[in-house]
C-alpha cells in the first residue's frame, strides 16, 4: 500500500499537463493492492498516466486534484463502496462528467441499474479480460484526447476571434462585415457610433438599410491581403434617417461559410464641406478670372482699334507727303541745286519709310487678329507659292533662288501663313551676303507638330540677338538694308496666333535658319 501511494505521488509530482505530453490520466480504484497492480499491469501498455487509490476517500481526493479521462472503480470496497464513491464523485462539479467504469464480480440487474443511474458508462466483470479492459479504456483515452484537441481548437479560435475583434475595434474607420448578399455579420463600435445604432441592431440587418447604394461587385473584391477597392462616395443613413456622405473601401475574405466582405466606412461630411468650399472658391476665382479676362479683352480691343485707326489715318498724310515731294522733284528737276535735291529726296525717303512702317504695322495687327477666324486645311506648298509671287520683284532684282521641298497640308489659317513665309523669305533676301541669295524651305514632322525651316546663305545673326529680332520695330542694321523692323515681329505674331512658335539658329557670316513649329 505504501508502494502504491508512492507511485501515485510520483505520478502527481510529474505535473506535466496532459496536453503537452499527449498522455491522459486514468484513476484506478480498488481496495485490493494486488488487483490494483493487476489493473496497472494491464493498462501500462496504453502508456497513460495511471493513478491508484485504495479507498473511496483517496479516490475523491485525487478527483479534486486531477482531471481524469476515466475512472475504474471497484464496486466492493470497505468503508465506502464503489457506488457511494461514484455518487460523491458525481456530486462534485469538476468530476461530474468523468466517465466511470465499474469493476465487479457480480452481474446483477440491481447493480447494473444502480451503477448506470449513478452515471456509469460501463461495467467490467471479473475476471478481467486484459484485451477487453484495454480496448474499453482506450476508447475513453481517445475520447479525452479528442475532447482536449477540441478544447484547444476552441481556445485557438477564441483567441483568433479576439485578435480579429481587437483589429476590428482598433480600425480608424467604421467596419462592417457582410456576406455577399449584404447581411451584416459583424460590426465594430465605430460603426455603431457612425450610424447611431447599437451593434446588435446592426448585426443581422441588411447593409442596404444604412448604405442603399452598396453593391456586391460582379468581378469580386480584392482579397484582404491586397489593397482594398478605391474609395467610393456613397450616401449613408443614420438610425434617425439623416443622410451623410460616406467614403467606403472594400475587400473580401473566404470563410467556410462563403465569401465575406469587409466594408470600411468613413464619414466624409467634413471632406464634402471642404470640397464644397474649394468648389465655391474655384467658382469665385473663375468668375474673377472671367471678369479680368473680359476687362483685358476690352482694353485689348480698344488698343487694337486704336492701333488700327492710327496706322490707317497716318497713312493718308504720309502718302500725300510722298506723292507731293515726288511731284515737286519732278517739276523742279532741272531747276534744283544739289542741296535742294538732296533735301527733297530725304523728305521723300523718310516719308516712304514711314509709309512702309505703317503698312507693316497694319499687317502685324491683321496677323494678330487672325486667330479669331476658324482654321481650315491649308496646303503649305500653295502658301509658299503665294508668298514668292508677292515677292516677285524683290526675288528678280536680287537674283535669289527659292528652293522649296514638299510641304504638308496643315489645319491653319492661310493669310497669316502667307505673311509668315513672305516675311521670312524677304528677310532672307534682305540680309543677304555678297553671294546671290539661296533660300531653302523644308518641313519635318515632329509628333503633333510640323517644323518648317527657312534657311538662307545670308550674313547671319549674332546669337545675342536671337530673341531681340522678333520684337516690334527691332532692327540690327541701319536703314540702307531697308528693313522696317516689323517683318520678324509679324512672323512671331503669326506663329503664335497659329498655335506654334518661331526660333532662329545662325552663325554670323554663315547664314541663318528660321524654324517655325506649327500644329499639324
Amino acid at each position: 500500500m505504501t508502494a502504491i501511494r508512492e507511485r501515485t505521488t510520483l505520478s502527481v509530482a510529474a505535473k506535466v499537463p496532459p496536453e503537452e505530453n499527449g498522455r491522459v490520466k486514468l484513476l484506478l480504484v480498488d481496495d485490493d493492492a494486488d488487483n490494483l497492480l493487476a489493473l496497472q499491469a494491464i493498462l501500462e501498455p496504453l502508456q497513460q498516466d495511471l493513478m491508484l487509490a485504495q479507498t473511496g476517500t483517496d479516490a475523491l481526493r485525487l478527483c479534486l486534484e486531477h482531471d481524469f479521462a476515466a475512472i475504474l472503480l471497484d464496486v466492493r470496497m470497505p468503508e465506502m463502496d464503489g457506488f457511494e464513491t461514484a455518487e460523491m464523485i458525481r456530486a462534485r462539479k469538476k468530476s461530474l462528467q468523468t466517465p466511470i467504469l465499474f469493476v465487479t464480480a457480480y452481474r446483477s440487474d440491481e447493480q447494473l441499474f444502480r451503477g448506470y443511474n449513478l452515471g456509469a458508462v460501463d461495467f467490467l466483470f471479473k475476471p478481467i479480460v486484459p484485451e477487453i479492459l484495454q480496448s474499453k479504456v482506450t476508447v475513453f483515452v481517445e475520447l479525452r484526447r479528442t475532447e482536449q484537441l477540441l478544447r484547444r481548437k476552441a481556445e485557438e479560435l477564441e483567441r483568433a476571434e479576439q485578435r480579429f475583434r481587437a483589429v476590428l475595434e482598433a480600425a480608424p474607420d467604421a467596419m462592417v462585415i457582410t456576406n455577399q448578399a449584404g447581411t451584416i455579420e459583424l460590426a465594430n463600435s465605430r460603426a455603431d457610433t457612425l450610424f447611431g445604432r447599437s451593434r446588435e441592431a446592426l448585426i443581422g440587418r441588411d447593409i442596404h438599410s444604412v448604405l442603399p447604394a452598396w453593391e456586391c461587385a460582379e468581378e469580386g473584391f480584392p482579397r484582404a491581403s491586397q489593397q482594398p477597392t478605391p474609395e467610393q462616395r456613397l450616401i449613408a443613413y443614420r438610425d434617425d434617417g439623416s443622410p451623410f456622405p460616406a467614403e467606403i473601401t472594400r475587400n473580401s475574405f473566404h470563410t467556410p461559410d462563403g465569401l465575406l466582405i469587409t466594408t470600411a466606412i468613413r464619414d466624409a461630411t467634413d471632406q464634402a464641406h471642404a470640397e464644397a468650399r474649394i468648389q465655391k472658391t474655384n467658382l469665385e476665382l473663375e468668375k474673377r478670372v472671367a471678369e479680368r479676362t473680359a476687362a483685358l479683352r476690352y482694353s485689348n480691343e480698344a488698343l487694337r482699334q486704336f492701333a488700327w485707326a492710327a496706322s490707317h489715318d497716318l497713312q493718308e498724310p504720309i502718302r500725300t507727303v510722298v506723292t507731293y515731294s515726288q511731284w515737286l522733284s519732278q517739276i523742279m528737276n532741272s531747276n534744283l541745286g544739289a542741296r535742294e535735291s538732296k533735301m527733297l529726296a530725304t523728305i521723300e525717303q523718310h516719308a516712304s519709310r514711314l509709309n512702309q512702317l505703317l503698312a507693316g504695322l497694319r499687317q502685324y495687327i491683321q496677323v494678330s487678329d487672325s486667330g479669331l477666324h476658324p482654321m481650315t486645311p491649308v496646303d503649305c506648298n500653295a502658301v509658299v507659292k503665294a508668298a514668292t509671287w508677292n515677292l516677285q520683284a524683290m526675288i528678280q532684282e536680287s537674283g535669289a533662288s527659292i528652293e522649296c521641298g514638299t510641304l504638308p497640308t496643315i489645319t491653319s489659317l492661310e493669310l497669316p501663313l502667307v505673311q509668315l513665309f513672305q516675311n521670312l523669305i524677304s528677310n532672307a533676301i534682305k540680309y543677304r551676303s555678297a553671294e546671290p541669295p539661296v533660300v531653302r524651305i523644308s518641313a519635318q514632322a515632329d509628333e503633333n507638330y510640323w517644323v518648317f525651316s527657312v534657311r538662307d546663305n545670308g550674313i547671319g545673326i549674332d546669337p545675342n540677338y536671337f530673341d531681340y529680332i522678333f520684337g516690334v520695330f527691332r532692327r540690327l542694321h541701319v536703314s540702307e538694308k531697308s528693313g522696317t523692323g516689323i517683318g520678324l515681329a509679324i512672323c512671331r505674331a503669326a506663329a503664335e496666333r497659329l498655335g506654334g512658335r518661331i526660333w532662329v539658329e545662325s552663325t554670323p557670316g554663315n547664314g541663318s535658319t528660321f524654324h517655325v513649329s506649327l500644329p499639324q
Binding site: H312, Q315, E316, R319, T320, V322, T323, Y324, Q326, W327, Q330, S352, N355, R362
Partner: protein, 141 residues
C-alpha cells in the same frame, strides 16, 4: 464731262485734277469734302436743275460717314442708276470692299503712293470709266 468727287484730302483732289489734265480730259469736278455734303448732293443729282455726273469717285473714309453711305443714297436715286461709281482709297478692308460692291460700286481704285503711278494708273482708269459709262447712257437717251 462731269465728275462727282467725294474726297476729304485736298491733296488728292489736286492730284486727281492733275491726272485728268495729263489724260487730256476736260472735266468739271463737283467736289465734296464730307460724306454729309456728298450724300445731300447725291440725293439732288438730276433734280431741280442739279446736273447728273458722268462718274462718281468716292473716297471710303470720310468725315461724317463713308463711301458706302454715299453709295446707298446714290442707289436710291434713279437718275444715278447708269452712272459708274468707284471707290478711290489708299486702303480698304475686305468686308468694306464687299459692302461697297454690293451697294453698286463698279470697282476699287487704290491710290498709289508713288506719284508717277498715281498719274498713270488713276488717270487711265478714270478715262476708261468715263468712256464706258458714256456709252450705255447715250444708248438709252
Amino acid at each position: 464731262m462731269r465728275i462727282f468727287l467725294a474726297e476729304d484730302n485736298l491733296g488728292d483732289v489736286f492730284l486727281i485734277e492733275e491726272a485728268l489734265k495729263r489724260q487730256s480730259l476736260n472735266c468739271e469736278i463737283d467736289h465734296y469734302a464730307t460724306a454729309e455734303e456728298a450724300i445731300r448732293a447725291a440725293e439732288l443729282c438730276g433734280n431741280a436743275g442739279a446736273p447728273i455726273p458722268d462718274l462718281m469717285m468716292l473716297d471710303y473714309n470720310l468725315p461724317r460717314g463713308n463711301g458706302s453711305d454715299i453709295l446707298a443714297v446714290a442707289g436710291r436715286n434713279p437718275k444715278l442708276a447708269a452712272v459708274p461709281k468707284v471707290i478711290v482709297t489708299s486702303f480698304l478692308q475686305a468686308d468694306e470692299l464687299a459692302q461697297a460692291l454690293e451697294l453698286g460700286a463698279s470697282c476699287l481704285i487704290t491710290k498709289p503712293v508713288d506719284f508717277e503711278s498715281f498719274m498713270r494708273d488713276v488717270g487711265a482708269k478714270i478715262a476708261e470709266l468715263l468712256r464706258a459709262g458714256g456709252e450705255p447712257e447715250a444708248a438709252t437717251s
